[in-house]
């Protein structure tokens, strides 16, 4: 079984923009499956793993990181031209990442505060997801991505199966795992009810509240459905759990703060603060 759109042994490129490399490491963390992956795919370009860097075109480009410089804004156009299928991996590429907090700040002031020679720094005033620059075929969420989801997407792609991952709330996975709800039992402001499933509910399993690293559940870009009910959850954080408006704002303005449903909710609470 194979995908008629791709080569028999598809050529893979893993390309980095503004990011921490954690999602690329998730590929290397596939361990036993990495060998199978290396057989199924021709890993043509993956500087994180190999110094043999072969030029395009590629069948599949996995893109990590957001666009934060003029040079990268140009480079992504070339990547798109070189790739039949372009998949973003992780919150930076899919949503702009934590560095998209700069979108609400003053980039010049940051440069002055951090660098001895701010004039050396050439940076855009925004961090934007790949989809704001080129057409994206599929998006993998998470900070970092979940390696099983990555393997699943590649498996489906190689087999010619339509790509699909669930967009339910983290709560489903929490209950399937037998986690005790940290919000109900401990009063923690968990974003699980409005966050996309896929991580395996690891934070609540460790007694932590979800901070939304997989982005909004249904209704985000590239997915069907309506936006999650962030307004009700935010109201509960404030009225039920006694968070002050700026704390509610910060819950939503995190790793995926630049994505619509979360961005809109944080703006509501900014105006209340």
């Amino acid at each position: 079984m194979s995908n008629p759109e791709l080569r028999q042994r598809p050529r893979l490129a893993v390309i980095k923009f503004a990011s921490c490399d954690g999602c690329q490491l998730s590929i290397l963390n596939l361990e036993d499956d990495l060998l199978a992956l290396g057989q199924a795919l021709d890993i043509a370009y993956f500087p994180e793993a190999s110094s043999a860097m072969n030029a395009g075109p590629y069948d599949i480009a996995l893109v990590e990181g957001s666009i934060t410089t003029a040079e990268d804004a140009h480079r992504i156009l070339n990547v798109r031209q070189q790739a039949k299928v372009l998949i973003t991996i992780g919150a930076c590429a899919t949503a702009g990442g934590i560095q998209a907090l700069r979108n609400w700040g003053d980039i010049e002031a940051f440069k002055q505060a951090v660098y001895p020679r701010p004039d050396y720094i050439q940076s855009l005033s925004t961090s934007t997801p790949i989809s704001e620059h080129v057409h994206v075929d599929f998006e993998l969420w998470g900070c970092p991505i979940e390696k099983g989801q990555l393997l699943r997407v590649i498996t489906d792609l190689v087999g010619g199966v339509q790509l699909h991952l669930p967009a339910d709330s983290v709560c489903l996975e929490c209950k399937r795992r037998g986690n005790v709800c940290v919000m109900v039992a401990k009063g923690m402001p968990c974003l699980g009810p409005v966050t996309r499933i896929g991580c395996g509910a690891i934070c609540p399993a460790m007694g932590r509240d979800c901070y939304g690293c997989f982005g909004p559940s249904e209704g985000a870009r590239k997915g069907p459905g309506l936006p999650p009910n962030t307004a009700s959850l935010a109201r509960h954080f404030h009225e039920g759990l006694q968070l002050i408006p700026v704390e509610v704002l910060r819950r939503f303005r995190g790793i995926n703060g630049a994505v619509d449903p979360f961005r809109n909710e944080s703006t509501v609470w900014e105006n209340k603060g």
């Binding site: 079984m1 499956d33 199978a36 992956l37 057989q39 199924a40 393997l151 699943r152 590649i154 498996t155 489906d156 190689v158 087999g159 199966v161 699909h164 669930p166 967009a167 339910d168 709330s169 709560c171 489903l172 209950k175 399937r176 795992r177 037998g178 986690n179 005790v180 709800c181 940290v182 919000m183 109900v184 039992a185 401990k186 009063g187 968990c190 699980g192 009810p193 409005v194 007694g207 249904e218 209704g219 069907p224 459905g225 309506l226 999650p228 009910n229 307004a231 009700s232 959850l233 109201r235 509960h236 039920g240």
Partner: protein, 383 residues
């Protein structure tokens, strides 16, 4: 009555003897244990693993445990988990499918038979299990995975002598007294445990325990406490006009109001002892020669649950909450001959924002002055 019910008394200090008797019969014993601020089912070996001295306090969207310092073993009424997970597993491998030259072959992956004794099930849990049995065992399609798990289950029920603020089993006529569906049932009265068998297997265990026959006074005291528990319930659900009354309020504005609070997070359905929706997931390997076919707990609150070819029939949260409540309280009656609600109150407690169906139902059945906003005005794009 065909034969006199024999009710025994076991000193609470002898409860370990019951656990030992179950172990001797080859059962893995599962009981309530304190973990992460609630009680959850875990394997227990000794009475000290049970939540001795703990009590739970539940209200909409809130669960807290308190240590009272008493010797009470069954002071915690319940946690988020009903008996559902023991029979309808959250993640059940169904088939391993192998590709062959001329097609494929499928191999069922039935669970290994295991004898599990659950100690501390409540009347509402038993009622929930009876509903699950009706769905997975007694209907036209007997589920072999469920049946394999159900077969090995031994149930030690506990009659409730304390009601939570969220309990309404009395109005649903499912509790607080466990009437059937158990192998043994306990009633904790001070330092004594009244014990009664409900099955042959239960009688066999009971025969090996050092119990004395309960006196009339002891039985009367136990009955008084269980009755008082029923009387003390502050919530109730008046289902006398169901199912019809709920069908008639399909366009009530209260659906919009509750949808503004509902997160569609699915917690109510996950903790519900009767909810049985599931999805099936395929996990192929990279070579596409093998795939695992797995059943997962699903919910009518997910976007995909309402997806049929080319269209989502329940795109909005309002559609989904209405679907859930109408099924649970009304169309379940048409479908299965009884309500889908057992009155355990878990959906009230474990709803992150505390939506309470005992408030929603009366609000929906109250005549409204404003017409509802047109339903279904927002269309999902589909898959």
């Amino acid at each position: 009555m065909a034969m006199a019910r024999e009710i025994g008394v076991l000193p609470r200090a002898s409860l370990q003897r019951l656990l030992d008797a179950l172990s001797a019969k080859g059962y893995r014993i599962v009981g309530p244990t304190v973990r992460d601020g609630a009680v959850v089912w875990e394997t227990v070996r000794s009475v000290s693993d049970l939540p001795v001295g703990w009590r739970d306090h539940q209200e909409p969207g809130r669960y807290r445990l308190e240590q009272t310092g008493s010797h009470e073993v069954f002071g915690v009424v319940h946690g988020p988990q009903s008996l559902k997970q023991f029979v309808f597993a959250p993640r059940e491998p169904l088939l391993q499918i192998e590709r062959s030259k001329d097609g494929f072959s499928a191999h069922p992956t039935l669970p290994q038979p295991e004898k599990v004794a659950v100690i501390g099930a409540r009347a509402c849990d038993l009622a929930g299990l009876a509903t699950q049995d009706q769905i997975f065992l007694n209907g036209a399609y007997r589920d072999p995975y469920y049946a394999a798990r159900r077969e090995g289950l031994f149930l030690v029920a506990v009659n409730c002598t304390r009601a939570l603020s969220t309990c309404f089993c009395a109005s649903m006529e499912t509790g607080p007294r466990a009437k059937h569906g158990f192998d043994l049932v306990l009633t904790e009265v001070d330092n004594q445990l009244l014990i009664e068998a409900g099955s042959t297997a239960g009688h066999e265990i009971l025969a090996n325990l050092p119990f004395t026959r309960a006196s009339k006074e002891q039985i009367a005291e136990a009955n008084t406490r269980v009755d008082a528990c029923a009387q003390s319930q502050v919530r109730r659900l008046d289902h006398s006009r169901l199912p019809q009354a709920l069908y008639e309020v399909h366009e009530h504005p209260r659906w919009d109001e509750v949808a503004s609070r509902c997160l569609a997070c699915a917690n109510c359905t996950m903790v519900c002892p009767t909810c049985f929706c599931h999805t099936v997931e395929e996990t192929p390997d990279l070579s596409h020669q093998h795939t695992a076919h797995t059943r997962l707990w699903d919910s009518c609150f997910t976007q995909e649950h309402g997806y049929i070819h080319g269209k989502n029939i329940r795109p909005t949260i309002k559609d989904r909450y209405r679907m859930w409540l109408t099924h649970k309280l009304a169309s379940w009656i048409d479908q299965f001959g009884a309500s889908g609600c057992v009155g355990c109150g878990r959906c009230i407690t474990w709803c992150p924002v505390g939506i309470d169906l005992t408030e929603e139902l009366p609000a929906l059945l109250r005549p409204s002055e404003q017409p509802s906003a047109t339903s279904g005005q927002q269309e999902a794009t589909g898959g």
